[in-house]
């Protein structure tokens, strides 16, 4: 078993040599030996990553140490190495971890989680999340949830993980009234969720139940409604169905199946120390849990940039010509077709696709136009770059065109040299390795978990179209005369209204992931926003924007509070895809109206600088606010409500509902059901 972690002779000898150098206190020598052994790999083996991280630790180079400890996560799901790397990272100051986000998570479990907790920590950090974890007492998940004054609630978690296993369910081996038994068990979990929601603002992550491979009933188990096997399946189905907006369900049964159930369930370690999930499955479970966390925090990747030759089809179009390419026919051609099918499915859940290829543009586009078996079409891509410039350079230009940060991108290329160049030049872009065999492309991409989605909002489904529309609008701007003509030609309409319960998920998604047009970058949780909605002093509204190209969906949000005669803006953000459309003026107009209705005399706004929101540094000044205070870069601004003037004429018509889009662009592609 696990033969893949048995070390190759060259790695073993490098580690042996490094150990000898280390005992002679030659840390640099040891590092050199390991680094040169690592050079032979795209993802060096975990043991090597760990040794290199240790060397850097001894040399006092924390940044390199963190980098190599996290590289062990990419090397494979090797339990002991992950654990060792996690302990290296334990005492690293938060600033050196360079996390994109931090969160507090409470782990409540029905089994031993001593090992799982550090593994989850390192898996999350690999996704850019610095987790502070509170581990509940062994097996006491119910007590901790039911007791309003439990340590878990005092910890004030952002996430509450219920890591439980099927032994914990009160379901008999066989039952005459299976539906009642399942309902009773479901009621227990529902009530735990309710208690958690009443006592905290945490989002719940519920592990569902992996079904054991051992069943005395055998195949009959799947046919008898009263068997434990069927009841557990039904319970899993109900968990998924009844989980509200505040509960994320992790499909452990599926992960266990992928891993192999006879390995997932290891009775020896259950008996030895109450490990319900085999230790070698824990890294995978940690990776999946972290991916779900990342999705909820808005850290999932948004755009996939693809190479063409030998990535989307077999062969090189420049040499083989369109007719010489392998797409659709034969095992290899079918493999590329299957990969395109998967990419199309990613696109339909909202992942933006783009092309970056070293080719002449006409040659690169020809297969899409002429090859009868191509599944992907040119209009599936929001950006298409084919030239002979270095790919990192092209990726930066794609990122500008789409107005997406580099950390939203994944780059896929069959050529390891291109991947290496991308990783070196743009480490923020995720560049997963691709196997040599195209038959395994889908699996390799699927395993990265980079495109996990916590919820599917209408905006997600339509994002690909919206980015393509944005590119079109940019073209219109280039051809339109004055800026005013351009704005008018867009025929923009906006629906501005208070946050409604149906909008909550989208609102929280925006709060989680908006970086550029975000004045305060306050990452309010679903629980917090729900509290705001009940607070009579809170003025809140969202904006939906439509132009002649597309309905952009819900793209902006403002939350403010009435303090006496002042209306203070707590949060103001806008999705990057509608920046530069004058929507901010419309929102301010609306805010002024609300302020006057509430008897306020002035509006106060705050700009808190981050690495990414330089775009809105001067927003308040542009909107006619007066600077009243500045501390450590944070600026406070004020605008009198007696001031009726707004510095720009309006290009956006405020409406209660949108007019239908013109026929020619509403060709069915935009009109997907919610």
């Amino acid at each position: 078993m696990n033969a893949h972690f048995v070390q190759s002779a060259s790695v073993q000898s490098a580690l042996h040599q490094a150990n000898q150098l280390l005992s002679a206190n030659d840390c640099r020598g040891a590092l050199e030996v390991c680094l040169s052994a690592a050079d032979a790999y795209e993802h060096p083996p975990g043991a090597l990553c760990l040794k290199i991280a240790r060397c850097y630790q001894r040399l006092g180079d924390t940044d390199a140490m963190v980098h190599w400890a996290l590289s062990a996560v990419d090397a494979g799901e090797e339990f002991a190495v992950w654990l060792a790397c996690a302990s290296l990272l334990k005492n690293v100051p938060a600033a050196s971890l360079k996390a994109r986000r931090s969160a507090r998570l409470a782990v409540l479990s029905s089994y031993t989680t001593v090992q799982f907790v550090p593994l989850l920590q390192i898996a999350a950090l690999r996704q850019g999340i610095a987790l502070e974890i509170h581990e509940g007492p062994f097996g006491q998940y119910q007590q901790e949830v039911l007791n309003p004054s439990s340590v878990t609630y005092a910890f004030k978690p952002d996430f509450l993980l219920l890591a439980v296993d099927e032994r914990e369910t009160n379901l008999p081996n066989h039952c005459a009234q299976p539906l009642e038994a399942v309902e009773k068990e479901m009621a227990r979990w529902r009530s735990l969720w309710q208690h958690a929601e009443e006592n905290s603002t945490a989002t719940i992550i519920q592990h569902n139940f992996a079904l054991s491979p051992e069943d005395a009933l055998g195949h009959l188990g799947s046919r008898l409604a009263g068997s434990r096997y069927r009841m557990l399946q039904e319970l899993n189905r109900r968990l998924a169905e009844e989980a509200g907006e505040n509960v994320l369900v992790l499909d452990c049964d599926r992960i266990a199946g992928t891993f192999g159930k006879e390995r997932w369930f290891d009775p020896r370690y259950w008996l030895l120390s109450r490990q319900a999930v085999a230790l070698d499955a824990l890294p995978l479970l940690a990776r999946h849990t972290a991916a779900l966390l990342a999705a909820r925090l808005g850290l999932s990747r948004k755009c996939l940039v693809l190479d063409l030759d030998n990535t989307l089809w077999g062969g090189t179009v420049g040499e083989d010509g369109v007719s010489g390419l392998q797409i659709g026919d034969g095992p290899k051609g079918e493999a590329y077709l299957a990969f395109q099918e998967y990419l199309r499915a990613l696109k339909s859940k909202g992942i933006v696709l783009a092309v970056c290829s070293k080719n002449d543009e006409a040659a690169a586009k020809a297969p899409f136009e002429k090859h009868p078996r191509m599944l992907l079409r040119l209009d599936d891509f929001a950006a298409f770059v084919a030239n002979w410039r270095p790919k990192p350079e092209n990726l930066i230009s794609i990122s500008r065109t789409l107005n997406l940060g580099l950390d939203s991108f994944v780059f896929l290329d069959d050529n390891p040299a291109e991947r290496l160049a991308m990783r070196r030049a743009l480490p923020a872009v995720e560049t997963p390795a691709l196997p040599d065999d195209p038959a395994l492309y889908v699996r390799a991409l699927n395993r990265t978990l980079l495109f996990e989605t916590a919820v599917l909002t209408e905006e997600d489904r339509r994002r690909a179209e919206q980015y393509a529309a944005r590119a079109k609008a940019d073209e219109a701007r280039a051809s339109a005369g004055s800026l005013a003509d351009f704005y008018s030609s867009l025929k923009m309409q906006a629906i501005i209204e208070p946050i409604s319960p149906e909008q909550l998920l989208r609102v929280v998604q925006l709060l989680g992931k908006t970086n550029q047009f975000n004045l305060t970058t306050r990452r309010h949780s679903l629980g917090t926003v729900s509290e705001f909605l009940k607070d009579p002093s809170c003025v809140h509204f969202t904006a939906r924007l439509r132009d002649c190209f597309t309905d952009h969906g819900l793209v902006a949000l403002l939350i403010a509070f009435v303090h006496g005669e002042t209306l203070s803006i707590d949060t103001w953000l806008m999705s990057c895809r509608v920046i530069g459309r004058t929507l901010e003026f419309e929102m301010l107009r609306y805010l002024c109206e609300k302020g006057r209705e509430r008897g306020c005399r002035s509006i106060r706004g705050l700009y808190i600088p981050t690495e990414k929101n330089g775009l809105v540094r001067d927003l308040f000044s542009d909107l006619g606010f007066r600077l009243i205070e500045e501390t450590n870069g944070t600026t406070t601004w004020e605008r009198s409500l007696d001031d009726e003037s707004l510095p720009q004429r309006s290009f956006i018509q405020r409406v209660a509902s949108f007019d239908a889009l013109p026929e020619e662009i509403n060709d069915g592609r935009l009109a997907r059901p919610a």
Binding site: N19, V81, A84
Partner: protein, 78 residues
Amino acid sequence: MADLHDQLEGVFQTIFNNDQLQLRDDMSPPDIPGWDSVAHVNLMFGIEQTFGIRFTGDELARLETIGELKRILASRMR
């Protein structure tokens, strides 16, 4: 046997986070600082993964000396 010793030492170094840790055949759990029940589980599992073998429940629960551990490993890997 030298190979086995080195590889085993590597697992111990990983689990106990100590590059300098050196194994002798007469060592038993109390001789190695940090060898508690959690570390024991991690260690036995790390050994299984590295050597591609499986201990029995008995072997997992009971471990007298490093020498004995090496004998078990050698017999499994034949």
